[in-house]
Amino acid sequence: MIKLERTLLGIILFLAIWQVLAICLDANTIVPGLGAIFSELTGLVGKKTFLVAVVSTLVKVIAGLLLTLLIGLPLGFLLGINNKLFDMFRPVIMVIQAVPVISWLTLVIFAWGIGFRGPIFITFLSLFPIALLTTVSGVRNLDKNLLEMATLYRVPRWQVIRDIYLGSLLPFIVAILDVTLGQAWKVILVSEYLCGNSGLGVLILAARYEVNPAKVWALTFLAVLLGLITERLVKLLFRKVAKRWAI
């Protein structure tokens, strides 16, 4: 409880400093008054355009993540158990990691124009290497002695995958979820801003054209909030799934 009180106190202090700054700097600067931000917030929350944008962004985040995990984890598994394959794929992965996002964005705009596919694809490209390489190191981290024990006792392959592989990969999968979830929101917003036609990123772009800092902050606040909520939900869900493996 004491800890919660301290946290609350911290937040109140932060808001107070913000408000003082806003008054000192005056009017419509990048630090607008709390009242202005709050009225933008309440204005946004009920509005249909906002809700549509939230759903659109959320769908893209989920799609980008699913794409990343569904391709990154199995491929990482494969490259982890097969060094020759890993050597073959490594240059491609390095290129994907090294090319600046701006270049991908430009190419995506050439290919698909402004739309929903671009942000999802950009998210995939930025997160896929993390998912893949973390899985590879997870597989390499496997205890060879345990695998040998399973071989000796002729334990069926599927059971080895369920009991040994998944169990040792779980901490790595948690780490991947941790990193990619947080990143996905940020990447989606940026790419919506630059090559999207809907979503919170586009709303922030609109607020820019209106030169409305209060609206930018209100949208940012909501985006962060949504990010945190989804992170919690996904982790909760994942823990449920993991429990079935009794980790």
């Binding site: 024990m149 000796l152 009991d163 009794a246």
Partner: protein
């Protein structure tokens, strides 16, 4: 009784390094053989070849069973699985009650490996080998990290199980007393590359041996004599 294992002219090299040389060895059904040798003499390698985890460079190994229980030097338990789950992993149909009781693991079946002491982990390692109903039980220095009282306890457990099931046993150890308590045959390997330099029968009761038994002590001193002239 017939042979369970027949090894002929076996040699094993890793890259250019010869680890085992000219091994000829037959082991009968229900025999309890102890393998003694300095570290690096290829004892583990020989066990791994017998159990099919490694292939010989030369020679042949005939083994008339596929049911092998292997008590590894390290427990090799799955860390995120309970004792019970670790056992069922190698044999989902196993009847665990009996073996858990006999190895004094009953109260620990829902424990995770990190909650167990070293001796307890090795008992699970042993239980896992036994619930596959092995015709051949291989033990690779399973007791080397344990304190003497616990070591004697587990040795006794192994002997009771052998009395019940009469599996063939190969024990690797560097503890002569351990070998004399457990084995009816002691095979001594030379230092690298390992060759058999002595193969002798232990003429004592199969079970209920005592470390302080004069007969046992006299065999021990004979072997020590061989060892001191060999190394």
């Amino acid at each position: 009784m017939g042979n369970l294992i027949v090894i002929t002219n076996l040699a094993k090299s890793f890259d250019d390094k010869k680890v085992l040389d000219n091994i000829n060895l037959s082991i009968c059904k229900s025999e309890r053989a102890a393998l003694i040798g300095p570290s690096g003499s290829g004892k583990t390698t020989l066990l791994r070849i017998i159990s099919g985890l490694e292939t010989p460079s030369q020679g042949t190994v005939q083994i008339h069973t596929r049911n092998i229980g292997y008590v590894f030097q390290e427990p090799r338990l799955i860390p995120w699985r309970t004792v019970e789950q670790n056992l069922l992993f190698v044999n989902p149909d196993a009847e665990l009650e009996d073996i858990l009781a006999k190895l004094r693991l009953k109260d620990f079946k829902n424990h995770y490996p990190h909650q167990l002491s070293g001796g307890m982990k090795q008992r699970v390692n042993l239980a896992r080998a036994l619930i596959t109903n092995p015709d051949l039980l291989i033990l690779d220095e399973p007791f080397s990290s344990l304190d003497l009282p616990i070591k004697l306890e587990i040795i006794n457990d192994v002997l009771l199980q052998w009395q019940e099931r009469k599996f063939t046993m190969i024990l690797v150890t560097h503890d002569l007393k351990e070998a004399l308590l457990l084995a009816d045959r002691i095979i001594i390997l030379s230092s690298s590359p390992g060759r058999i330099i002595k193969d002798l029968t232990v003429d004592l009761n199969p079970v209920n041996r005592k470390i302080s038994d004069p007969a046992l002590l006299s065999i021990e001193s004979d072997i020590l004599h061989v060892l001191s002239s060999a190394y």
